[in-house]
Amino acid sequence: MQLASVATPTRPTQQANERGGEPVKQPVDIFNPTEEHRHLRETARKFGESVLGPQASKRDLEESFDPGLFARFGSELGLFGLTVSADHGGVGLDSTAAVIVHEEFSRFDPATTLSYLAHEVLFVNNFYHSADAAQRDRYLDKVLSGEWIAGMAMTEPEAGTDVLGMRTTAQRKGDRYVMNGTKQFITNGPYGRVFLVYARTGPGRRDISSFVVESGFKGFSVGKKETKMGMRGSPTSCLVFEDMEVPEENRIGAEGGALVHMMRNLEIERLTLAAQSVGIALRCCEEMTRYATQQRKAFGKRLIEFGQIQQMVAESHAHTMAARALVYTVAQSISPGRRESLGAASAKLVATGVGERVARAAIQVFGGYGYLRDYPVERMLRDAILLSIGGGTNEAMQKNISGDLSDMYG
């Protein structure tokens, strides 16, 4: 289908040539700023289509996760450590590269992509930019190769958006910390060997520190695997810490310094989640357009000839293009040293809404078939809804956007 080719806007040049005028200067391709980005997209799309896609529905139905498949992201594709410097075993690319991978994978399997995100963005990117040399030496190789699956633990049963309300504590005891508490909704929880965990190290509301916690630590346990509406191919559980001893050298950064790590990582998290929604929207646009133009007729006409169907197809296409352009534009201004909270929150708010609406429209265009598990669009809608909740709810995005605007105007 043609939607993905908005990446190569060739039409203006062509028209100028036909009119006999000077060729129009090729516009900058924000979706593929360099040839490397283009090849990366090609690799991610091919892998998504030929490896992730064919089994995605099975993993969704069975609510199963395939660790062997996950390992291929590292061993075969080298897709862990996109934002890690090449000197430290990473790739040395940027936020746009991360967006490309999440978008392309999500066209075929948003759930496995979410597990990739938890490992690559929530753990690797955060850990790499916050850890010291010794900590990188101990953990980086294992997570870049995919030998160890990783995740991040912030949310608690009674503290989500209100992150500073977390209750997990890490009390200092000689050269170690004793950690107690429960972390909720942890992606990769049942399979993770290592987690970045936030815990309270003092009485103040902001006295929160970051730790690297291994699943082998005494006192670490994994709660039951959650049964979910969507993203079922991505394993989720709670993590329970009971008098778990964490060596001091596993504290990342200064005691009480976690808010810096949290904040520094937030934008790329939101952006890659938004990219997942764009991938879902692209796929649903393709599916509904193909169905309406090529496959289904009613009253002797193709579905696309009916005004009500046109409205759904056209609006889905236009909104997807808009969300995609916003996400890639914001990606250009987000790096570890450069923050753009207003842009990232806006991208997530817009893209997740578009992902849900476009998936819902696709089901409507498919009619009764859209409601069946035989077609991918109902899975896409169930997956899309998580993206309006996880990694900061859309209500939190509205609050942040309003806060940023209020600072700018106030």
Binding site: Q2, S5, T8, T10, R11, T13, Q14, N17, E35, E36, R38, H39, L40, E42, T43, K46, F47, S50, E76, L77, G78, L79, L82, A86, V91, G92, L93
Partner: protein, 275 residues
């Protein structure tokens, strides 16, 4: 083993409906087309990589794969995609798409083979645009080398290759002495189709063409890419194949409905004349 893989880009076969003919019918409009490597050529590169490695250690090269294409500067993106997939070196022969035909390309390749001295030239059995299926055969004839076409299996066997060709009713097995020219078919990228002398007989590849790993994508620009002039490889660049006119295929005509079997038989007999 040193393998030379000639390849070309073609208009994306998944977007074939975008291919248009210019108003005067003189050529295919290439502006705005999305390009992909010819699928059979991708299979040839995959085959060449498999022949120059131990399947269990694909990151260690045990031979050399040189990819070559004829075309304008933007074809380098196709070559670099192959370098990212694992090819060692690339050559672009500067040319415009409409200055080439199979005869000219084969003669230029002969000259290049004399310079590069590969043990094997591997090609896709045909390109999916012109579908002429002739460059490999002409090249083998010009070189006076043994040839096997449409290979579905290749196994390295001392100084020769065992080549399996799928035909109606079975497989023809050929033993081809090196140096040789081999063209490959679709099933050459099945899990147990290609074995170098290093790859053990019980090893199975993943189905299909390998993915370009991201670290290799980042390194691709550092691999050598030579640019040659067509005139360096062929003194006579006149085309032997002339294309007087292009026409898009006619749209399919509407079918006819028949009342009963008798009418159907009558039409098959008297209109379609197939009975």
């Amino acid at each position: 083993m040193k393998v030379l893989v000639p390849l070309k880009r073609v208009a994306d076969p998944d977007n074939a409906n975008k291919v248009k003919v210019t108003a005067d019918g003189k050529k295919v409009e290439t502006t705005g087309l999305e390009w992909k490597p010819n699928p059979f050529d991708e299979y040839a590169v995959e085959t060449a990589l498999r022949l120059t490695e131990d399947g269990t250690k694909p990151k260690t090269r045990a031979g050399e794969v040189v990819v070559v294409t004829f075309g304008p500067k933007e074809c380098e993106i196709t070559l670099r995609a192959m370098l990212a997939t694992g090819a060692d070196r690339a050559i672009r022969v500067e040319a415009e798409d409409d200055q080439l035909d199979g005869w000219l390309v084969a003669r230029a390749l002969k000259k290049l083979v004399e310079q590069e001295k590969p043990d094997l030239v591997l090609l896709g059995k045909q390109a999916v645009d012109g579908d002429t299926n002739q460059v490999g055969q002409i090249l083998a004839e010009l070189l006076g080398w043994p040839m096997a076409t449409s290979a579905a299996m290749i196994k390295e066997d001392g100084e020769a290759l065992l080549v399996g060709r799928e035909v109606d009713g079975g497989v023809i097995n050929l033993k081809v002495r090196l140096p040789a020219v081999v063209t490959v078919d679709l099933r050459i990228v099945a899990p147990a189709s290609v074995y170098s002398k290093l790859t053990k007989a019980d090893f199975k590849y993943n189905e299909g063409v390998r993915f370009a790993p991201l670290p290799a994508i980042m390194q691709a620009k550092k691999k050598p890419m030579a640019v040659l002039k067509l005139a360096d490889l062929a003194t006579d660049t006149a085309l032997r194949i002339q294309y007087p006119r292009f026409e898009p295929p006619k749209g399919r005509a509407a079918g006819k409905k028949v009342k009963d079997v008798a009418e159907l038989v009558d039409k098959l007999k008297n209109e379609a004349k197939v009975l």
